[in-house]
């Protein structure tokens, strides 16, 4: 009995049963356009019904109860096809009460959001580096100090469109950066996924 990963590996490397479209050359031809129905457009400027933000209040089975910043509760269902991000792809067991959350999916008639993608504690903050000490960038974000920690094996720096590198030594005190990372709940600390440096 082949494992699921064996099946997926065979599919992408060699085609086979269950493969709807694939390529050995790297691109899909027009015959491989897979149609999906467009989601109904939400009103510009208004809340997106297929999106939820807030903090996880409780977790039960495969459901997250989330309290939004506008004091609205969201019930979010996570299924096998849902991706979860917490400084990288993680399993559902990594979700914790108190985590900040953004989720995109499909709003069901009963009000539940069937999640396609969930991002936990993800932040994308811009600011000036005020100091660099012991694998930590001190960032001035809107006048508040945020401690941004380098995570070995995960944190990378992107200098314009250069390939991301785990060598962050080119970053300088006083330069402006954008840091995408995972907030540590109830602190002013963030674990770095990517530092975007303009030069």
């Amino acid at each position: 009995m082949r494992s699921r990963r064996d099946v997926l590996r065979s599919a992408v490397l060699g085609g086979g049963a269950g493969v709807v479209a694939a390529t050995a050359l790297g691109s899909l031809g027009p015959e491989a356009a897979f149609a999906t129905a467009a989601a109904p457009d939400a009103e510009p400027g208004a809340p997106d019904p297929n999106f939820a933000e807030g903090r996880i209040r409780s977790i039960k089975d495969n459901t997250l109860l989330v309290l939004g910043s506008n004091m609205v509760f969201h019930t979010i269902r996570v299924v096998d096809g849902t991706s979860l991000w917490k400084l990288g792809p993680v399993g559902f067991d990594q979700a914790r009460p108190g985590d900040g959350l953004y989720a995109r999916g499909v709003r069901m008639p009963d009000g539940m959001l069937a999640a396609e993608a969930v991002w936990l504690n993800i932040v994308n903050i811009k600011g000036h580096i005020t100091d660099i000490k012991h694998q930590t960038l001190h960032l001035d974000h809107n006048g508040h100090e945020v401690l941004c920690h380098v995570v070995p094996g995960t944190s990378v720096a992107v200098h314009s469109e250069s390939p991301p590198t785990s060598d962050l030594s080119l970053l300088k005190v006083a330069q402006h950066v954008q840091i995408l990372g995972a907030w540590r709940p109830d602190t002013n600390e963030v674990d770095i996924a990517t530092v975007f440096s303009p030069h």
């Binding site: 939400a42 809340p47 933000e53 900040g100 993800i122 994308n124 811009k126 469109e161 907030w183 975007f196």
Partner: protein, 149 residues
């Protein structure tokens, strides 16, 4: 403070412009967002389909200074609609202006690519709800085309 005209007519005056799109949070939400507030227009929320534009007022222009990167953008005020289309995926989202940003002049010349298509300079910042419609939040920065609706 008078807006400088040294960068010529606004790049978005006659048609769509290509540049980078990022995302930001707003609306007194969790994490570092708790200090961000409701933006320059007083209406910004991370769950709304909204965006920040670099030229919503003279005071805004003084902060973002796209002309430092060699181009100008039209003055658009709160509530104005833009369409942001991710390059190479073709997915798009229509949003309204709710804040001033991004700080274009601090990232002059920065480039982002999708496939073989690249775009330079930060032109627009979307809320998480809007950005996640056209790209994954974990990407952080994407090339896009910005047009009026």
């Amino acid at each position: 403070m008078a807006r400088t005209t040294s960068a010529g007519p606004p790049a978005d005056l006659l048609g769509p412009v290509q540049g980078e799109v990022s995302w930001f949070c707003c609306g007194n939400a969790w994490g570092p967002c708790s200090s961000t507030g409701k933006g320059a227009c007083g209406t910004c929320n991370s769950g709304n389909l909204q965006h920040a534009w670099p030229n919503t007022s003279d005071a805004c222009w003084a902060i973002t200074r796209p002309d430092s990167c060699g181009f100008s953008l039209s003055r658009r005020t709160c509530g104005f609609q833009h369409r942001t289309t991710a390059l190479c995926t073709g997915t798009s989202v229509v949003t309204t202006i709710a804040d001033c940003g991004p700080q274009t002049d601090l990232f002059c010349g920065e480039q982002s690519c999708c496939g073989a298509t690249c775009a330079s300079n930060r032109l627009i910042d979307l809320t998480p709800a809007a950005f996640s419609r056209i790209a994954s939040l974990s990407a952080g920065l994407r090339p896009a085309e910005i047009s009026t609706v």
